[in-house]
Protein backbone atom coordinates (compact mmCIF):
# COMPACT_ATOMS: atom_id res chain seq x y z
CA UNK A 1 0.00 0.00 0.00
CA UNK A 2 1.16 3.50 -0.84
CA UNK A 3 0.87 6.30 1.73
CA UNK A 4 1.39 9.99 0.95
CA UNK A 5 1.66 12.93 3.35
CA UNK A 6 1.23 16.64 2.74
CA UNK A 7 2.00 19.96 4.44
CA UNK A 8 2.84 19.65 8.13
CA UNK A 9 1.97 15.97 8.20
CA UNK A 10 4.77 15.48 5.70
CA UNK A 11 7.09 17.52 7.87
CA UNK A 12 6.20 15.75 11.12
CA UNK A 13 6.50 12.26 9.68
CA UNK A 14 9.55 13.26 7.63
CA UNK A 15 8.08 11.28 4.74
CA UNK A 16 6.31 12.48 1.61
CA UNK A 17 5.57 9.04 0.21
CA UNK A 18 6.14 5.47 1.32
CA UNK A 19 5.07 1.95 0.44
CA UNK A 20 4.12 -0.32 3.32
CA UNK A 21 2.89 -3.90 3.74
CA UNK A 22 0.09 -3.92 6.25
CA UNK A 23 -0.12 -6.66 8.89
CA UNK A 24 -3.33 -8.71 8.71
CA UNK A 25 -4.63 -6.95 11.82
CA UNK A 26 -4.86 -3.57 10.01
CA UNK A 27 -7.80 -3.25 7.66
CA UNK A 28 -9.11 0.30 8.03
CA UNK A 29 -7.80 3.86 8.26
CA UNK A 30 -8.08 3.96 12.03
CA UNK A 31 -5.98 0.81 12.31
CA UNK A 32 -3.43 2.19 9.89
CA UNK A 33 -3.01 5.36 11.96
CA UNK A 34 -2.54 3.35 15.16
CA UNK A 35 -0.03 1.07 13.49
CA UNK A 36 1.95 4.00 12.05
CA UNK A 37 1.89 5.89 15.37
CA UNK A 38 3.33 2.88 17.18
CA UNK A 39 6.26 2.72 14.72
CA UNK A 40 7.75 6.16 15.32
CA UNK A 41 7.32 9.23 17.55
CA UNK A 42 7.20 11.51 14.49
CA UNK A 43 4.12 9.66 13.25
CA UNK A 44 2.58 9.65 16.72
CA UNK A 45 3.07 13.44 16.81
CA UNK A 46 1.59 13.89 13.33
CA UNK A 47 -1.52 11.94 14.32
CA UNK A 48 -1.82 13.40 17.82
CA UNK A 49 -4.96 15.43 17.02
CA UNK A 50 -7.10 13.66 14.45
CA UNK A 51 -9.48 16.64 14.36
CA UNK A 52 -6.95 18.38 12.12
CA UNK A 53 -6.07 15.38 9.96
CA UNK A 54 -7.91 14.67 6.72
CA UNK A 55 -7.77 11.35 4.89
CA UNK A 56 -8.20 10.39 1.26
CA UNK A 57 -8.27 6.84 -0.05
CA UNK A 58 -7.56 6.54 -3.75
CA UNK A 59 -7.86 10.34 -4.13
CA UNK A 60 -11.31 10.54 -2.54
CA UNK A 61 -12.05 11.91 0.92
CA UNK A 62 -12.57 9.06 3.40
CA UNK A 63 -13.24 8.64 7.10
CA UNK A 64 -11.51 6.60 9.80
CA UNK A 65 -13.68 3.57 9.16
CA UNK A 66 -12.80 3.30 5.46
CA UNK A 67 -11.63 -0.22 4.60
CA UNK A 68 -8.17 -0.63 3.11
CA UNK A 69 -6.63 -3.13 0.73
CA UNK A 70 -3.09 -3.69 -0.51
CA UNK A 71 -3.49 -1.74 -3.76
CA UNK A 72 -4.87 1.43 -2.16
CA UNK A 73 -3.26 4.86 -2.00
CA UNK A 74 -3.89 6.56 1.34
CA UNK A 75 -3.22 10.28 1.81
CA UNK A 76 -2.94 12.17 5.11
CA UNK A 77 -3.08 15.97 5.15
CA UNK A 78 -4.34 18.94 7.16
CA UNK A 79 -7.55 20.83 6.36
CA UNK A 80 -6.99 22.45 3.01
CA UNK A 81 -6.13 26.13 2.55
CA UNK A 82 -6.11 26.73 -1.19
CA UNK A 83 -8.26 29.03 -3.25
Amino acid sequence: MKIVYFAWLREKTGVSEETVSLPDSVNDVRGLIEWLGAKDPGYADAFDDLAVVRVAVNQEYANLDAQLGPGDEVAFFPPVTGG
Binding site: V4, F6, A7, W8, A56, Q59, E60, Y61, E73, A75, F77, P78, P79, V80, T81, G82, G83
Partner: protein, 170 residues
Amino acid sequence: MIRVQREDFDVGAELDRLSADRGSVGGLCAFVGLVRDMSGRRAISAIELEHYPSMTERALEQIEAEATERWPLDASIVIHRFGRLEPGERIVLVGTASAHRQAAFEACEFIVDWLKTKAPFWKREHTDAGTRWVDARASDSAALARWDREDAAGHGPSVRARGAPKKAAE
Protein backbone atom coordinates in the same frame (compact mmCIF):
# COMPACT_ATOMS: atom_id res chain seq x y z
CA MET B 1 -12.36 23.19 -18.10
CA ILE B 2 -9.91 22.83 -15.25
CA ARG B 3 -6.19 23.49 -15.10
CA VAL B 4 -3.63 23.10 -12.31
CA GLN B 5 -0.42 24.87 -13.14
CA ARG B 6 2.61 26.78 -11.92
CA GLU B 7 2.27 29.55 -14.52
CA ASP B 8 0.15 32.65 -14.36
CA PHE B 9 -2.98 32.95 -16.52
CA ASP B 10 -4.63 35.70 -18.59
CA VAL B 11 -8.01 36.51 -17.03
CA GLY B 12 -9.34 38.43 -20.03
CA ALA B 13 -8.41 35.69 -22.50
CA GLU B 14 -9.86 32.95 -20.30
CA LEU B 15 -13.18 34.78 -19.92
CA ASP B 16 -13.32 35.49 -23.65
CA ARG B 17 -13.02 31.77 -24.27
CA LEU B 18 -16.02 31.10 -22.01
CA SER B 19 -18.35 33.05 -24.25
CA ALA B 20 -16.69 32.61 -27.65
CA ASP B 21 -19.09 30.94 -30.11
CA ARG B 22 -21.73 30.61 -27.41
CA GLY B 23 -24.35 33.17 -28.33
CA SER B 24 -26.67 32.10 -25.50
CA VAL B 25 -24.30 33.47 -22.85
CA GLY B 26 -25.76 36.61 -21.30
CA GLY B 27 -23.41 36.91 -18.35
CA LEU B 28 -20.02 35.84 -17.07
CA CYS B 29 -19.07 35.82 -13.42
CA ALA B 30 -15.44 35.54 -12.42
CA PHE B 31 -13.50 35.32 -9.19
CA VAL B 32 -9.76 35.92 -9.02
CA GLY B 33 -7.93 35.07 -5.78
CA LEU B 34 -4.73 36.99 -5.09
CA VAL B 35 -1.83 36.69 -2.64
CA ARG B 36 -2.26 39.35 0.04
CA ASP B 37 0.73 41.26 1.40
CA MET B 38 0.01 40.90 5.11
CA SER B 39 -0.71 38.05 7.51
CA GLY B 40 -2.05 39.74 10.61
CA ARG B 41 0.63 42.35 11.27
CA ARG B 42 3.42 40.47 9.45
CA ALA B 43 4.46 41.38 5.92
CA ILE B 44 4.36 38.36 3.62
CA SER B 45 7.33 37.94 1.32
CA ALA B 46 5.88 34.93 -0.50
CA ILE B 47 3.61 31.93 -0.14
CA GLU B 48 4.13 28.37 -1.28
CA LEU B 49 1.21 26.30 -2.43
CA GLU B 50 1.63 22.55 -2.14
CA HIS B 51 -0.97 20.21 -3.63
CA TYR B 52 -1.78 16.54 -4.17
CA PRO B 53 -1.52 16.24 -7.94
CA SER B 54 -3.37 12.99 -8.58
CA MET B 55 -6.28 14.11 -6.36
CA THR B 56 -6.41 17.77 -7.37
CA GLU B 57 -7.47 17.37 -10.97
CA ARG B 58 -10.04 14.75 -10.11
CA ALA B 59 -11.47 16.92 -7.33
CA LEU B 60 -11.69 20.02 -9.50
CA GLU B 61 -13.39 18.06 -12.27
CA GLN B 62 -15.95 16.77 -9.79
CA ILE B 63 -16.83 20.20 -8.50
CA GLU B 64 -17.11 21.66 -11.97
CA ALA B 65 -19.42 18.81 -12.92
CA GLU B 66 -21.53 19.37 -9.82
CA ALA B 67 -21.86 23.10 -10.56
CA THR B 68 -22.85 22.31 -14.14
CA GLU B 69 -25.49 19.91 -12.89
CA ARG B 70 -26.93 22.37 -10.35
CA TRP B 71 -26.95 25.54 -12.47
CA PRO B 72 -27.67 26.10 -16.18
CA LEU B 73 -24.10 26.91 -17.19
CA ASP B 74 -22.94 27.22 -20.76
CA ALA B 75 -19.28 26.96 -19.79
CA SER B 76 -16.93 27.24 -16.84
CA ILE B 77 -13.23 27.43 -16.07
CA VAL B 78 -11.24 26.69 -12.92
CA ILE B 79 -7.49 27.43 -12.88
CA HIS B 80 -5.51 26.92 -9.67
CA ARG B 81 -1.79 27.62 -9.41
CA PHE B 82 0.75 25.93 -7.16
CA GLY B 83 4.35 26.65 -6.20
CA ARG B 84 5.89 29.90 -4.97
CA LEU B 85 3.82 33.08 -5.35
CA GLU B 86 4.49 36.64 -4.28
CA PRO B 87 2.02 39.24 -2.95
CA GLY B 88 -0.25 40.54 -5.69
CA GLU B 89 0.10 37.39 -7.79
CA ARG B 90 -2.98 35.54 -8.96
CA ILE B 91 -3.67 32.19 -7.26
CA VAL B 92 -6.95 31.03 -8.70
CA LEU B 93 -9.52 31.88 -11.35
CA VAL B 94 -13.09 30.63 -11.38
CA GLY B 95 -15.27 31.71 -14.29
CA THR B 96 -18.86 30.77 -15.13
CA ALA B 97 -20.98 31.59 -18.16
CA SER B 98 -24.76 31.39 -18.30
CA ALA B 99 -27.81 32.85 -19.96
CA HIS B 100 -28.88 33.97 -16.49
CA ARG B 101 -26.72 36.17 -14.35
CA GLN B 102 -27.85 34.73 -11.03
CA ALA B 103 -26.84 31.23 -12.14
CA ALA B 104 -23.41 32.56 -13.11
CA PHE B 105 -22.97 34.31 -9.76
CA GLU B 106 -24.19 31.41 -7.66
CA ALA B 107 -22.22 28.73 -9.47
CA CYS B 108 -19.05 30.82 -9.30
CA GLU B 109 -19.39 31.43 -5.57
CA PHE B 110 -20.25 27.77 -5.00
CA ILE B 111 -17.09 26.62 -6.77
CA VAL B 112 -14.95 29.11 -4.85
CA ASP B 113 -16.44 28.06 -1.49
CA TRP B 114 -15.81 24.46 -2.43
CA LEU B 115 -12.20 25.10 -3.48
CA LYS B 116 -11.49 26.78 -0.16
CA THR B 117 -12.62 23.78 1.86
CA LYS B 118 -12.13 20.69 -0.30
CA ALA B 119 -9.47 21.16 -2.97
CA PRO B 120 -6.20 19.58 -1.75
CA PHE B 121 -3.98 22.65 -1.63
CA TRP B 122 -1.97 23.89 1.36
CA LYS B 123 -0.51 27.36 1.78
CA ARG B 124 2.69 28.15 3.60
CA GLU B 125 3.45 31.80 4.33
CA HIS B 126 6.92 33.30 4.45
CA THR B 127 7.30 36.36 6.67
CA ASP B 128 10.25 37.91 8.49
CA ALA B 129 9.18 35.81 11.49
CA GLY B 130 9.77 32.61 9.50
CA THR B 131 7.40 30.28 7.69
CA ARG B 132 4.13 28.79 8.83
CA TRP B 133 1.35 26.66 7.40
CA VAL B 134 -1.84 28.66 7.10
CA ASP B 135 -4.66 27.38 9.29
CA ALA B 136 -8.00 26.50 7.73
CA ARG B 137 -10.78 28.86 8.74
CA ALA B 138 -14.04 27.69 10.25
CA SER B 139 -15.81 30.44 8.28
CA ASP B 140 -14.83 28.69 5.05
CA SER B 141 -16.60 25.50 6.12
CA ALA B 142 -19.63 27.55 7.09
CA ALA B 143 -19.60 29.21 3.68
CA LEU B 144 -19.64 25.84 1.95
CA ALA B 145 -22.44 24.58 4.19
CA ARG B 146 -24.71 27.28 2.70
CA TRP B 147 -24.84 25.17 -0.45
CA ASP B 148 -26.02 21.94 1.13
CA ARG B 149 -28.79 20.54 -0.98
CA GLU B 150 -32.29 20.54 0.39
CA ASP B 151 -33.58 18.01 -2.11
CA ALA B 152 -35.23 15.94 0.57
CA ALA B 153 -37.53 18.84 1.35
CA GLY B 154 -38.47 19.13 -2.28
CA HIS B 155 -36.90 22.56 -2.78
CA GLY B 156 -35.03 23.46 -5.91
CA PRO B 157 -31.30 23.33 -5.47
CA SER B 158 -30.10 26.80 -6.25
CA VAL B 159 -32.04 29.72 -4.91
CA ARG B 160 -33.38 27.92 -1.86
CA ALA B 161 -29.98 26.57 -0.90
CA ARG B 162 -28.93 30.18 -0.71
CA GLY B 163 -31.78 31.18 1.50
CA ALA B 164 -32.74 33.92 -0.93
CA PRO B 165 -36.38 34.98 -1.22
CA LYS B 166 -38.40 32.77 -3.53
CA LYS B 167 -39.20 35.74 -5.72
CA ALA B 168 -35.55 36.32 -6.56
CA ALA B 169 -34.65 36.67 -10.21
CA GLU B 170 -33.44 33.80 -12.33
